[in-house]
């Protein structure tokens, strides 16, 4: 079955006697038991809920995994993943990670005696030299947020496994429609489901998908023990949003490529970061491991003030953190989504202060380009405009 069909062709209500076409919302905390000394399939919604079960199975199958788990946020999913480690273990991570992930890795895990090393995963040989006997997990995003750097996921998987470590990939910028890290050798896929999976910015959620049953059991244990699973209503919203994942992304990618090409030749734009452009350093690798470049891209202008003014002058691109929604958004990662990155990591990352990240939505392509063009024009210093005109 092709991906578009898989998105909608699943049993929405297994075993339900009424056979609804849409998954029922089991907005309930607890379940009545038939016997006093044994539990039925469900007993308490922290441990399991029929609405969540449908979503978790669906997400697992879309990522070509065997078991899926949904959480109250992408960070809750990432945090649960790190519970696979114990004191003394180490994580080796790529330098370009979402700011919240950096905060979790640098300011929370250290309390549990888990160390995190950062290195540029694009330089695989140098990256591999950072592996120590304590390294249990390699964690990367690809393309990365916000620099859209492409990491060789097959190579990362081989490296991790050669050293007895696991590879986890945050697939939030791609979604299972464009990239399946498990097929490339990763052991764990993590999603901020708030992004492309939900697609409407009406739900905050996270997901983990794995192949190995032993890993699944550990993840489930933590989900139940810590109580951070996604609520039934949010599960319903996510199930509903997922149905149009392909439709949305097809349109978003088409718009994003057009905008990237437009920005690449714009006289006031310094550099565009987008692996869908043939001149981008990640272009070839992206084509070898993913089915598209997505709809998130970044660019620089040479001036933090101009970048800020562009964000503030844009109308269709609204200033918001997060990405992947049907609405276009614009942000300055240095002061917004990545403000929590420790300064020493920030220096290593070489993230430009004038970096603008945009997430392209499903608005009309010409409207979006016209909006950016107007915003750029309005953002340029007046004297320069006067000279030009």
């Amino acid at each position: 079955m092709k991906f578009a069909s898989r998105l909608v062709s699943y049993d929405p209500a297994p075993g339900d006697r009424f056979r609804p076409i849409s998954t029922p919302i089991y907005q309930t905390a607890t379940f009545e038991q038939e016997h006093a000394d044994s539990f039925g399939e469900y007993d308490y919604s922290r441990s399991g809920n029929p609405t969540r079960a449908v979503l978790e199975k669906h997400v697992a199958l879309l990522e070509n995994g065997t078991r899926g788990f949904c959480f109250s946020s992408g960070m809750a999913a990432l945090s649960t993943m790190t519970k696979l480690l114990r004191s003394g273990d180490e994580i080796l991570a790529d330098i370009d990670l979402y700011g919240g992930t950096c905060r979790l890795f640098s300011k929370v895990l250290d309390r549990g005696g888990i160390a995190v090393r950062y290195a540029d995963a694009r330089d695989a040989e140098r990256f591999e030299r950072q592996i120590t006997p304590g390294t249990r997990l390699i964690h990367v995003e690809s393309p990365t947020n916000p620099m859209l750097r492409v990491i060789d996921l097959r190579r990362m998987a081989a490296m991790a496994h050669a050293h007895g470590a696991l590879l986890s990939v945050d697939n939030s910028t791609m979604s299972p429609y464009l990239q399946n890290p498990l097929d490339l050798g990763a052991d764990i896929v993590v999603h901020s489901a708030t992004k492309f999976l939900g697609g409407h910015h009406d739900v905050t959620a996270g997901a983990i998908v794995v192949k190995e049953e032993a890993l699944a059991e550990q993840i489930y244990f933590t989900q139940n023990a810590e109580g951070n699973a996604l609520g039934p209503f949010d599960c319903f919203l996510l199930l509903r949003g997922l149905k149009t994942l392909k439709l949305r992304l097809d349109c978003q990618q088409k718009n994003a490529l057009a905008i990237a090409q437009f920005l690449a030749i714009h006289k006031d734009i310094q550099r565009v970061y987008f692996p869908g452009l043939s001149e981008d350093p990640g272009y070839g690798l992206q084509r070898s491991q993913a089915r598209g470049a997505g709809s998130v891209l970044s660019f620089t202008t040479g001036s933090g003030d101009i970048s800020k003014a562009i964000a503030e002058h844009a109308k269709f691109f609204r200033i918001t953190v997060s990405f992947g929604s049907v609405n276009s958004s614009i942000s300055m990662p240095g002061s917004m989504s990545h403000a929590s990155v420790p300064p020493e990591v920030m220096a290593e990352r070489k993230m430009p202060a004038d970096l603008v990240r945009i997430s392209v939505g499903i608005e009309d392509e010409e409207d979006l380009m016209g909006d950016l063009d107007r915003a750029i024009h309005a953002a340029m210093p007046r004297t320069q405009v006067a000279i030009g005109s």
Binding site: R17, F18, P20, I21, I25, Q27, F31, E32, E41, Y42
Partner: protein, 400 residues
């Protein structure tokens, strides 16, 4: 387990519960779905399309039916959808209805703007005097529709006395029981054929939904109501039904507090020098107190009062409240204060309005669950701020 032998407070919690949903969740699932898959052509599991019926709406209908002491009720998108569907189910061109003159303004508008054009007529009479009903009934009359207590002056109609008339004429008697709910007044046990509720009010109780219900023991009428509802698409929605089911579990405890608060405030108002009169069925001064005691189990949470000062001062007082909210609707946790003559009953002819006691100085209060002392303090400061504290402006300032 039959709900017949249980107390109301138990039925409010367990009436909609069905233990056979496959996961046995303690709450009924929210079937937010438009359609249902058929096992084979023409073979479904009792549900095919949510305009016709839906498992979650079904659960609400069982719950309301259990409270009403009837088979499952029929639930609608709004209280007006319930009333409109009821009339369209029992009336056709040439038919006639007799209706309480104190009925909700929307019911009057329904006749004037919709049913009248279909050749269906109605007489609006003072049903507090049953002889007026007898006099209004013609050979074409099919239904008597009363609201008791009436809105906003709480005027009562004797359900039992009216039912003797409707039975003699072999016509239907429907009671809009929104102000009291089946917990405080049981119209079907008093002889009525149909009980109508705006579930928006006390049944939900949280100002979270709009909805309506019709309950009856007449199986043919139930079938007819479901047919018309399906045809005109006035069915309640699953999420609204689910919220209503949750809200109604606390109906018995809420009603107890609403009644206690209303009684305290009514007595305070009655003693206040700036207040001309108070309408509350629990007060000794209420002209129909005996009837209230006969057919109601409590006086309810609604009251109305008239200030001695004029209309302008009354409006100033309404504009000075801080805790109470100026809003239409009633029966929720928040105390709502309304000026019926300019809002809920503004559509009525001024003469008719005055005849019903809806003067420009009349204030309606839906007493919420705030501490009665705090509501009283708010009313006190509002009356003082409006400059009508004890001072009598007189009727010279009445808006005419």
């Amino acid at each position: 387990m039959s709900t017949k032998d249980l107390h109301d407070s138990t039925v409010a919690i367990h009436g909609g519960r069905t233990l056979d949903s496959h996961a046995s969740s303690i709450l009924f699932p929210l079937y937010q779905t438009s359609t249902f898959v058929h096992d084979a052509v023409g073979v479904d599991k009792g549900f095919s399309y949510s305009r016709v019926s839906n498992p979650t709406v079904d659960a609400l209908e069982k719950a309301i039916g259990a409270l009403e002491g009837t088979p499952p009720a029929v639930c609608f998108r709004t209280g007006m959808a319930a009333i409109a569907t009821l009339f369209l189910s029992v009336l056709k061109a040439g038919d006639h209805a007799v209706i309480s003159d104190v009925v909700y303004g929307g019911t009057m508008r329904l006749f004037r703007e919709v049913l009248d054009g279909l050749g269906i007529t109605a007489s609006f009479v003072d049903t507090s005097e049953p002889a007026n009903i007898e006099a209004a009934i013609t050979a074409a009359t099919r239904i008597v529709f009363i609201e008791t207590p009436g809105n906003p002056t709480l005027k009562l109609t004797d359900i039992e006395a009216v039912s003797r008339i409707t039975k003699r004429h072999s016509i239907l008697l429907a009671v809009d029981n929104t102000f009291l709910t089946p917990l405080l007044q049981k119209p079907l046990e008093l002889g009525a054929d149909i009980s109508v509720l705006s579930t928006t009010k006390y049944i939900d109780g949280h100002n979270a939904t709009v909805g309506g219900s019709v309950a009856t023991r007449d199986e043919n009428l139930l079938e007819r109501l479901r047919l018309i509802r399906k045809t005109i698409g006035t069915t309640q929605a699953p999420f609204e039904a689910w919220l209503t089911l949750q809200g109604m579990k606390t109906l018995p405890v809420r009603l107890k507090l609403h009644c206690e608060g209303a009684a305290i405030i009514a007595r305070w108002l009655e003693d206040h020098p700036a207040v001309e009169r108070v309408y509350y069925p629990g007060l000794d001064s209420f002209p129909q107190k005996a009837l209230a005691e006969k057919q109601q189990l409590a006086a309810g949470g609604m009251l109305a009062f008239e200030l001695k000062a004029g209309a302008e001062a009354t409006i100033r007082a309404l504009n000075s409240v801080k805790l109470c909210s100026r809003a239409e609707s009633l029966g929720g946790l928040e105390t709502l204060i309304t000026h019926p003559s300019s809002t809920t009953h503004a559509d009525l002819e001024p003469e008719l309005r005055r005849g019903l006691g809806i003067t420009d100085r009349l204030v309606r209060l839906s007493v919420g669950l705030e501490a009665p002392e705090d509501i009283i303090a708010d009313l006190e400061q509002a009356i003082a701020a409006a400059g009508c504290d004890g001072a009598v402006e007189g009727d010279a300032h009445e808006i005419r």
